[in-house]
Symmetry: C2
Subunit: 433 residues, 2 copies
């Protein structure tokens, strides 16, 4: 694949750099968009990150933006959105034939906020069916025989492949962090409840969040502020080293041995670079989190999709019918409410894990993207953090045995998202130099 | 008004009674629906509960249901839905000219679950603009010069007036409990997070729930199970008297003096009937809940409606622009997150209020529905319970000085919804005899 294009082409710029370039008149929205479209034209036949993309529509939008003289914290920044997110001027089909060609009336809140800030909606990125497991067409931009991960497959591939600097996905288990790890991108899952999901097809609302995918920690922080509808506050100038809790979790054995080594090595390097690194062991109760996750996500999913199940059963994949839906319909209300209570208890004690550290260092995925397109990879490494509603970031700091990207995940306690960004930037700078 | 029609007409039946009648062949879906349509034809010119109603469509649906021989826990039961809830075969306009004639692609989860159980969607009931404060056309069925309350105005009026036995509303402050109190209906706000809101236009997701409106406690329990997608479990045969915590709250002074007397009198009567009644005082911190509610609801609302604000400003009422939206845009992220943390702390300690009681007895509204249609009444009495995510029920047990209904609200701790129903039934039987 062609990763050797001259550096600093316009499509390689981060969102922060684009805003700077457009605001100071060094680039126009149109030139930025054309650079991204060129990259897409070159790479899309192989990567297939886009479910819907209309170059003329996007160029017209960018021209109108240039003409308007509009400014804003995301001015000129092309962004992609997972095709479970509504937009008023592009069809949204939720990764399902049931909704082929469906045109929503309005923009999702996250789309409207991005546009209000000057962002340019590039198109809809490929999602698995209803953000569940049945994969879309997208391939890993680093190796087309491998999965890009999912369910935010196209969002991660498009950003990792420099087609757009920003994309929005969602996460109900590991659907943002894992594909970003596989595609060499940065990604952020916010504290649950922070960023509005209006206009996003719900999978399991007790767990769902947006997921932001970018090519720098700074861009993740910028995009969070944009989606809060607030004036961006840059991450503070570098302060001291963060206190890092190295957290293997009970799923350590699920990781590839090289991923274990990469993480252990990173913990050592960060300690040498000045971070206080301690080992953090989660309460043993947390081993029940995956079961609780399954009950909550399946129960809610099976209710949320009642209309589709009752009216379009034949339009639902076998995998979804026999997986999430079957599990969800078999889960009793009592099991569901017990799982939710259990999750809430885990949430309440999770803050204790941060007594001696600011962030946890843990795996973003089991390893490199696996070969094959029929599965989007093992979701295990993110389920814990998803269930406890904690914010997390993955940063592309490792290479696996095949030279493919592997992320490191940093996790903070709820509502500590800004400190998480500070720590992630510090860690990234120490590990990639 | 005509409240003196012969009793036990078909449109007077509760949902439980209709299911029994249809299941045993004593009535058909069509006859039930026709009875409700006749009531609507008689009363709608005065009450104006319906935003969309197509009698032929409903009769066709009922006939097809009869022909199919379908059975289910809601078979033959006509239900109304607040016009912020999507349905695939009726337009949904969210109480706003911006969405006039808008036709969603699919049914909201609650609609699909109701239909799956055999329920018959009657039509869309009037809502205030986006479930906020700007009122719709509906009048109080007991006195057309008075408000039905809001924002679930049409849902409460339609059930209170025996047009349908069940309706779904929503609640972000007191939008189900208050109108039900004003319209002489039973209503239930579930533990936050229990019943799926997919396909319901979000106002402020951290607070929003569905709200169920009915004409008996048994129907509320039945409808909850239907919306959980589970086999209904009737409320257990009557057990002992509940332990009742009489809770004036710091808003006691806001209530009409006659409402204060009615509640105090009821507490005394319940004690005489065998309930252990104690006084419960909420922690003094809870006086901050209304401010927290305002920050959370306004901040989220103003983000959720970014598309409408940016693209259809002229279609938004002055009241909404200068109220919720202005407040929300002025609320900083820090204020918002602080308010959410405060709410979470209140939630954590709220269970302590139930050390010596099973349910709290408190006001459902300040008094009778006020005269005038320009306001939907004082939201204060429900904000506390909404913010702490507690389940509550209002039961129509009082009459005010003008002979108009006033409800009593019972509140349980989170996840104690079934015990709440038991207590509500016990209390209702003791107070109305």
């Amino acid at each position: 694949m062609d990763r050797n294009m001259p550096t600093r082409q316009l499509n390689d710029l981060t969102a922060t750099e684009i805003v700077e370039a457009v605001t100071t008149g060094k680039a126009t929205c149109e030139t930025i968009v054309r650079a991204c479209l060129e990259r897409i034209a070159l790479r899309e036949p192989e990567v297939q990150a886009w479910h819907y993309l209309n170059p003329e529509q996007v160029i017209d939008y960018a021209r109108a933006l240039d003409k308007s003289g509009k400014r804003g914290p995301l001015i000129g920044v092309p962004f992609g959105i997972k095709d479970i997110i509504d937009s008023c001027d592009m069809p949204t089909s939720y990764g399902s034939p049931i909704y082929a060609g469906h045109q929503p009336k309005s923009d999702a809140a996250c789309v409207a906020l991005s546009r209000k800030a000057g962002g340019i909606l590039m198109g809809k990125t490929v999602t698995t069916e209803f953000a569940n497991q049945y994969p879309g067409k997208t391939r890993n931009p680093f190796d087309p025989t491998r999965t890009p991960g999912g369910s935010s497959s196209g969002s991660a591939a498009a950003v990792g492949d420099c087609m757009v600097p920003l994309a929005i996905g969602t996460q109900t288990t590991g659907s943002t962090i894992r594909p970003a790890s596989f595609c060499g991108a940065f990604a952020y899952r916010p504290t649950w409840g922070d960023l509005r999901c209006v206009g996003v097809k719900e999978a399991a609302g007790s767990l769902d969040t947006l997921g932001l995918i970018a090519r720098s920690v700074e861009d993740l922080a910028l995009y969070r502020d944009v989606l809060f509808g607030t004036e961006p506050q840059p991450i503070p100038a570098e302060s001291g080293a963060p206190r890092i809790g190295f957290c293997r979790t009970h799923l350590w054995r699920v990781l590839e041995p090289y991923t274990q080594r990469l993480l252990e090595d990173a913990a050592g390097r960060l300690a040498k670079a000045g971070a206080k690194v301690t080992e953090v062991t989660l309460p043993s109760d947390f081993e029940g989190i995956e079961d609780a996750h399954r009950s909550i996500s399946s129960f809610e999913f099976a209710r949320n999709f009642t209309w589709e199940i009752e009216n379009h059963w034949e339009g639902i994949s076998q995998r979804l019918r026999n997986g999430r839906i079957k599990d969800g319909l078999a889960c009793s209300v009592e099991q569901y409410l017990q799982a939710r209570s259990f999750a809430e208890k885990c949430r309440a004690v999770f803050a204790d894990s941060f007594r001696d550290c600011d962030v946890l260092l843990t795996a973003a995925a089991t390893g490199e993207a696996p070969i094959g397109l029929s599965s989007t990879g093992n979701v295990a490494p993110s389920a814990i953090w998803t269930v406890v509603h904690a914010p997390s970031v993955t940063i592309p700091v490792f290479k696996g045995p095949n030279g493919l990207p592997v992320g490191a995940q940093l996790v903070a306690k709820r509502n500590d998202d800004r400190r998480l960004f500070e720590a992630a930037r510090w860690v990234y700078r120490r590990l990639v130099s």
